[in-house]
Amino acid sequence: MQLPAFMGGIRGKLIAIFVLIKVVPLLLLAWFAWHATSLLGGDVSEKAGGMADAMLATIKTIGTTVTDDSIRALDLRSREAIEALTTDTAKEIASFLYDRDSDIRQAAALDPSEASFRRFLAERQRDIHQHGQWKLADDGKSWIPEIPVVREAKVTRPILPDNAKDFHARPPEYLGEAERRPLFVEMTYIDLAGNEKIKVTHGNLTDKRLRNVAERSNTFVKAESYFPELKKLKPGDIYVSDVIGAYVPTQLIGPYLPAALDKAGKPFTPEESAYAGTENPVGKRFRGIVRWATPVIKGGQVAGYVTLALDHDHIRQFSDRLMPTEERFTPIADAIKGNYAFIWDYKSRSISHPRDYMIIGYDPQTGRPATPWMDEELYAEWQASGKPSDEFLAGVQPFRDQNLKRKPARELVKAGTLGLDCRYLNFSPQCGGWNAVTEHGGSGSFVIFFSGLWKLTTAAAIPYYTGQYGKTPQGFGFVTIGANVDDFHKAATETAAKINTLVAQKDASFKAQRSELLDHISDSLSATALGLWGSTLLMVIVVIGIAVWMAGLLTHRITAMIDGIHAFQQGDLGRRLDARSADEMGELANSFNRMADSVEESFKRLDQARAEAEEASRQKSAFLATMSHELRTPLNGILGFAELLKLELADPTHQEYAGIIRQSGEHLLNLVNEILDLAKIESGEMTFKHIPTPIAELVTECAAGHQVAAESKGLRFALHLAADLPEQFYTDPMRLRQILNNLLNNAVKFTERGEISLAVSLKDGDVAFTVRDTGIGIPPASLDTIFEKFKQLENFLTREHGGTGLGLTLVKQLVDHMGGRITLTSEVGVGSTFTVFLPA
């Protein structure tokens, strides 16, 4: 990996290491802290949220539990209260009925006369509470009282602080406008044949004429059949009849309102339809009677019978005014809300109901029981039977498979005959329930979902056992109170609603707090992050700064050392490093200084040696020059005058002597020249040129002189120049000439017959100069030493041929110094070939 330039030095590396060992952990630490903080933040957020949720859940649970418990408690309390109310009502009814037993007994003791009867009836009156006039509301969507009754508790004295808590006052109970009415609508005296002898009536309900009641059609709504029962009575026995009345049909179920009638396709005639409390306050009332009868004894014999027809409205008062709610009583029943009471007779027939059309009755035309409400199945069976309903129902098993899944017969709804006879009201299983709790004379309750409402329904047997009512513990029948369960625990549900509101508020508040908390945590985290990373960044910068500074501090000495070494390297041999510190760096500097001392010393010695060598060389050169000069100076005279002498002398012998002097001088001169050349070469004094040299010209010129010498000895001389020779090549021309002259001199000198040749050619990038002769040749033993000094064939040849013995040595030395080489092949008596190779 290529490090960046600034990282290349020790300083850079130190900084990098610093950064690596400091900054990386720092960053890791910062990251770890941040991560942990984030986790903590998240955890806290989650926990806080979880706590809030758990708290809310707890509150909700508590709320629900409290509500449920409250509901349960309230329900139980309500149930108890309503059951008590039911039982009390049943008892009151029984008590009321028993009072009528007293009445009939007293009536029996009367002297039968119209006057006494009239007085008797007048004496027996009771309040009947009625609501005032009601009218259809202006919008036609409800019935409203013409004069609204506002009831407010009146508290005029100051409420003492001690009583202030839950201080509560109720206005006087209001059951409606009281109307004083006789208990009985009719009082008769009947003879043993059934003829009414005396008859006092009140109101217009019953026939005012004296009739024979043995004939059913002469009785009230042609439905009474008591006379046969009277015959069975013994003195003191009391007969009590069923509730007898004409059935009042309805045009519809529910609020009798124009829109509903319109929907049903019927004319809006509320007065023609059955009364139904708030649903139809102006409707036609069910009017009925319960007849008491007992024998009148005269002289120990039954002389006749006295009867009292109780106005059924007095019985209804017990149930119609009841409200199983905090209202307690109402002047008008409201069946819609499901809070109302009704009374069933010993045959489980409805004899008191807020909706008059649900009270069982008789067809006043025929005296037959009106058709009761049936479920679809029973209705279909009835229709299939083709019998009058009472005949058909007489053969039907009562309470047959009653359950909520059964559907009421729609045809009966249309017909408006909806009297409730529990025995055949098979879509209404509470009938069985009521009987279950009352058939043994007790009371009880259960909750049932009916008509779209959860209803607590209670039942209490009416403990009145006179006459036919004494056959079962149920007595006269039973009172039932239906109560909308929701109403019982309204307080609890209100509390629950309050709790729910509180919980919702708390929820919102918790959510807001939680959101605030989360925001706070988030802000806190952000601040932490900012602080953390900011301080980390600051620390990183500081660490890098310290790293740079420390690296600088550390490397300063190294760079100073390197500078010193560089200076030393550049030739400042006197340069020394600062070795004052006692650490490794000081030791290193010391080592360097010692080395520098020794190097400097060596350099000094070298300089000295070189100077000495140079001086020696200079002296040698001077010696050689002087030598050359001093040897040549006398030779000038010797050679010059020998030549002159030879010219001047007339005697050939003298001339020859002069010639010998001259030759000897020349020999000496050659010797001197060659010695000096060798000396120069060996001392390194000789310098070689390297200049462009025309080959052909040099060789031709060189050959010319030797050709003359050769031919004067009778030898042939040949010069061969290869065609591919370059025009010129780089060499030292003077030395090349000296080489060739030496070789050619030798060739001419040692050849007596034949030919001398000089050939120049290119061989493997070298210029090859070949001098060949047909001379005496060189013995093989001498081939290796021929180039050594004074080895010229045992000096013999030297003497014989006048050679110096230094020529070939010089040639080889020159060739070697010119970067070439020389080869020799020779055969004694045949000739020799010298080849000089010089780089082209």
Binding site: A625, H629, R632, T633, N636, G637, L647, K680
Partner: protein, 123 residues
Amino acid sequence: MPTTPRLALVVDDQPTNRLLASTLLKRWGWTVLEAESGEAALALSGEHAFRLVLLDISMPGLSGEETCARLRATPQGAAMHIVAYTAHAFPEDRERLLANGFDDTLIKPISRQRIEELITHLG
């Protein structure tokens, strides 16, 4: 200033060398004056316009090179053919001398033939 044709000066501290050079020049019909030192040569040069001067290099007193320089400074110095007459035979010596104002070199030992070439060249 023109030189005198065939008037030569041989300067050498050794009489033998002066004699040899003079003899050889005279054989070719030159008039030759001799001087045994540079100082003497300079003195003579004031009196004569030498066509050729053979000047030894290694001499007591003024050296040949110094003498050459001074001769060149004389009115006829430029026209003078000054030849180093010396036993300093190394090629570098010759180069040095030619560079220091000498027209030619005449290396001892000299030969008749060499003198002949020299004066033939001068005409």
